[in-house]
């Protein structure tokens, strides 16, 4: 393999690894821009992966799986909303609780229902989102690098992959071009301004966390029935936190979120590629460096060494107008 082939193969897996991050980070974007911190992204992703796998197995229909994934994730979002909006509880604590609940419940129910140690049964092709081959992909693969790029990086992904990339401009459009987006951004900065404008702060924030739930539903579904063919316990494996890091790294803005996720996805893909390989002059590069790099980069950003990240001003603070 020459370098270009390697690069194309890494880029292909970069995209596959970035998709759950993009959905999840956009989910965090909706929630956090409305002033609700969400560290329960991980749990929502995991729970929706489980639900999608179960329903896809039972119905043999991937779309039914997607719906189940979304419904489950939205339900958890509503729990988070009930705790942090209605009851003005601590949003971090609520997120931690959701992560625990999802981690435990998926295994307990999975074992009780399927008895495969927390796995769900292997899906057939019907229950999964399969690859979409673009026209002439096979023909163009051998017609030079551009053709190869077309065939292996642009073509050959499942429908959710393309939806993830569509979700980025759609999210941008919702946030910056619609009434809902204007209000959502306002409520994360100064809920008092929204309240005195005669808009319900609670309902607005509920809608924001529901958006977050929907997007997390997509990411969990992707993990279980697009990237894999079953739910495996703890399959989110910290991706919710990497997505959170990407969201911060992108300074809570939709288009940079995509690039941050692609960067972190690339690091992951690169680490996989480097595993067991030796770099001339350095030797084997420990894979843990790549695993830690997204977090290290985010901390450096947070420290203000790469520009300043301003989190939404009212983030994490329950809104209360009574004195």
């Amino acid at each position: 393999m020459d370098y270009i082939d390697i690069l194309i193969s890494i880029l292909g897996s970069t995209i596959r690894l970035s998709i759950p991050l993009i959905f999840t980070a956009l989910a965090g974007l909706f929630s956090e821009r409305s002033g609700i911190f969400d560290i329960g992204l991980e749990g929502k992703m995991l729970a929706s992966a489980f639900a999608a796998a179960c329903v896809a197995y039972l119905t043999g229909n991937a779309w039914a799986g997607l719906l189940a994934g979304i419904a489950t994730s939205v339900a958890l979002s509503l729990v988070h909303g009930f705790a942090s909006i209605t009851n003005r509880g601590n949003q971090i604590v609520s997120g931690v609780a959701i992560n625990f609940g999802a981690a435990g419940l998926t295994i307990v129910l999975g074992q009780a229902w399927f008895g495969q140690g927390g796995r769900t049964p292997q899906l057939t092709a019907d229950g999964r989102f399969g690859e979409i081959r673009f026209p002439f992909a096979a023909e163009l693969r051998d017609s030079g690098y551009l053709g190869k790029f077309y065939a292996d990086v642009i073509s050959g992904h499942n429908i959710l992959t393309y939806m993830a990339f569509a979700a980025v401009p759609i999210s941008w459009w919702i946030l910056y071009r619609t009434r809902f987006g204007l209000r959502l951004r306002a409520v994360g900065e100064n809920p008092g301004a929204v309240d005195t404008a005669g808009i319900s702060v609670s309902w607005l924030r509920y809608r924001a966390v529901i958006c977050a739930g929907i997007l997390c539903g997509f990411s969990g579904t992707y993990l279980a029935i697009a990237q894999s063919a079953a739910f495996i316990k703890d399959m989110s494996a910290g991706k919710g936190y990497i997505a959170l890091a990407a969201l911060i790294f992108a300074k809570w803005k939709p288009v940079p979120v995509m690039f941050a996720c692609l960067l972190f996805g690339f690091l992951d893909a690169f680490a996989n590629f480097m595993q067991g390989k030796s770099v001339p002059g350095i030797g084997e590069v420990p894979v843990q460096i790549f695993q830690a790099l997204p977090y290290v980069l985010t901390c450096i950003l947070l420290a203000g060494f790469i520009g300043v990240a301003h989190p939404p001003k009212a983030g994490g603070v329950p809104y209360t107008k009574e004195r």
């Binding site: 071009r177 619609t178 009434r179 809902f180 987006g181 204007l182 209000r183 951004r185 306002a186 900065e189 100064n190 008092g192 301004a193 929204v194 309240d195 005195t196 404008a197 005669g198 808009i199 319900s200 001003k313 107008k321 009574e322 004195r323």
Partner: protein, 503 residues
């Protein structure tokens, strides 16, 4: 219909836990008038208006708009009923543009694009009709406070408000900005709008209102035609008995310079210069008063002098020695005490028990425990002593500080700072939200300190207080000290100086 009053409030009652904020309030506001509501801080004015705007719900009572009873259950209902409100703390999204802020809640459709053009046109119209000009594309956080307030008024007018409530609108304004505001309010009235102005400043009431209602301790005590009343009468109604803001005091006998300020410049958290190249001295045995409208740099000056905020340039000297970047703790060791402007946020930790607050800032003193330990018995004994001496009620050092009244809370702070026997005492708004009895007590202590030969610097937005206590008065305006006068200088002279008009 024209003879119907714009607003009628009947028997409005509201409690916050144990606090009875509004007691059976009745109020009638005539259409096309400017109606002032005056009262001391904590008299219940803001609560009443928040009820009218649907921000709080009254426990009982009725609101009638143009003669029709309206159940204002939220701000949306109030807006629909033609009520607009300019809050004391602006309700603006700081990183939004003026246009976005104005459209928020009145976007004119699910997509923004549709509403933007009509919003711009409407803003243009409001600008020509009322002289409310602001750049619609400016970002709020980059606008001066006066302009931010104008955006708030525009927000209300854009929503078609017929009744505009302004809560303490001049607290943050420079005098010229305040004048401009009053002009705008006059125009609004002339166009048939109704304006309700909440304030605790008598001067404003006399200058602009047609009718004035006075609130005291949650009750509506009187309503007068402005033309038929006087400052004296209103003042008496506000506080409940004739106030004699003359404090008995002898001649000052100033000694050596203790505290000097040389070319001091201080910036606030946003990096705006709030104190600009200021120099003055305070001598032993005198009270120097700093007069000025709130927000002209007094707070930042006090914070710099007490070590809370580092000045960006200039020098502070104690006994002729520059203090450098001394911390508040170091300054306390040098004999500087500080009664802060805001006891809730600075002077006290409200969740602490009283005795814990009685040592705040001095907790490292060996008196309260050896080494790294705290001696709770010593702390409580010390607190009990101060409670007796300052008649703090209830006399219980184990009571949570939040459960004391405003006057008693302030006494806790005053006792703590004065009983340290400091050589320099910085005093900020010593009687804000404090009852008359405590005011007299605190003023007396301040005079005693002077007579003991201490150097005192007094900051207050209450001109009467400054005049009653100070031996010399420095007037601060827009970060500068614009002149020095004695207490003999008339209220008018000082007022003009505070407005930055004369020196």
């Amino acid at each position: 219909m024209t003879d119907q009053p714009a607003i009628e409030l009947v028997g409005i009652d509201k409690k916050f836990g144990a606090v009875h904020a509004n007691k059976n309030i009745n109020l009638t506001v005539a259409k096309g008038s400017i109606h002032g509501i005056i009262g001391e801080n904590g008299a219940g004015k803001s609560t009443l208006m928040s009820i009218l705007y649907g921000f709080y719900q009254a426990d009982s009572g009725e609101i009638r708009i143009n003669g029709k009873p309206v159940n204002i259950k939220d701000s949306q209902t109030a807006i629909n009923a033609g009520i607009g409100m300019v809050h004391q703390h602006f309700m603006l999204v700081e990183n939004f543009t003026v246009l976005e802020n104005i459209m928020l809640g009145a976007e004119g459709g699910a997509l923004l694009a549709k509403g933007v053009a009509s919003a711009r046109a409407e803003l243009k119209r409001l600008e020509t009709d009322y002289g409310l000009d602001v750049d619609p594309d400016a970002v709020i956080e980059e606008l001066a406070v006066g302009l931010q307030q104008r955006v708030e008024i525009l927000k209300a007018m854009y929503r078609g408000a017929e009744i505009l409530i302004l809560d303490e609108p001049t607290g943050v304004l420079t005098p010229s900005e305040a004048d401009h505001l009053f002009k705008i309010l006059g125009v609004l009235r002339d166009q048939g709008k109704t304006v309700i102005l909440i304030t605790h400043k008598l001067r404003e009431i006399m200058a602009i209102t047609d009718t004035v209602s006075v609130m005291r301790r949650g009750e509506m005590v009187a309503t007068r035609k402005t033309k038929e009343t006087s400052v004296e009468e209103l003042a008496e109604l506000m506080v409940g008995r004739r106030v004699l803001l003359r404090v008995e005091k002898g001649e000052a006998s100033p000694g050596d310079v203790v505290l000097s300020v040389r070319n001091l410049t201080v910036k606030d958290n946003r990096g705006v210069t709030m104190v600009d190249n200021v120099s003055f001295d305070v001598r032993a045995g005198e009270i120097v008063g700093i007069a000025g409208v709130a927000g002209n740099g007094q707070s930042e000056l006090l914070e710099a002098l007490s070590g809370i905020r580092q000045p960006s340039s200039g020098e502070i000297l104690i006994d002729g020695q520059p203090i450098g970047r001394a911390s508040p703790a170091r300054l306390r060791e040098l004999g500087l005490a500080h009664i802060p402007e805001d006891r809730h946020h600075m002077g006290l930790v409200l969740k602490f028990e009283e005795y814990e607050n009685a040592v705040l800032g001095y907790h490292r003193d060996p008196k309260y425990g050896r080494g790294f330990m705290l001696d709770l018995d010593a702390m409580q004994a010390d607190a009990t002593e101060k409670i007796e001496k300052y008649d703090i009620r209830p006399p219980n050092p184990r009571l949570k500080t939040a459960n004391f009244s405003g006057g008693n809370q302030q006494k806790i702070v005053v006792a703590r700072e004065i009983e340290r026997d400091p050589r320099i005492l910085l005093i900020g708004q010593p009687t804000r939200g404090v009852d008359i009895g405590a005011i007299e007590f605190i003023h007396r202590r301040i005079i005693d300190m002077r007579d003991q030969g201490k150097a005192l610097l007094l900051v207050s937005v209450e001109l009467d207080e400054i005049r009653a206590l100070s031996d010399r008065i420095l007037v601060m305006f827009a970060g500068h000290i614009v002149g020095e006068k004695t207490a003999e200088a008339g209220e008018q002279t000082l007022g003009l100086m505070m407005a930055g008009i004369a020196a």
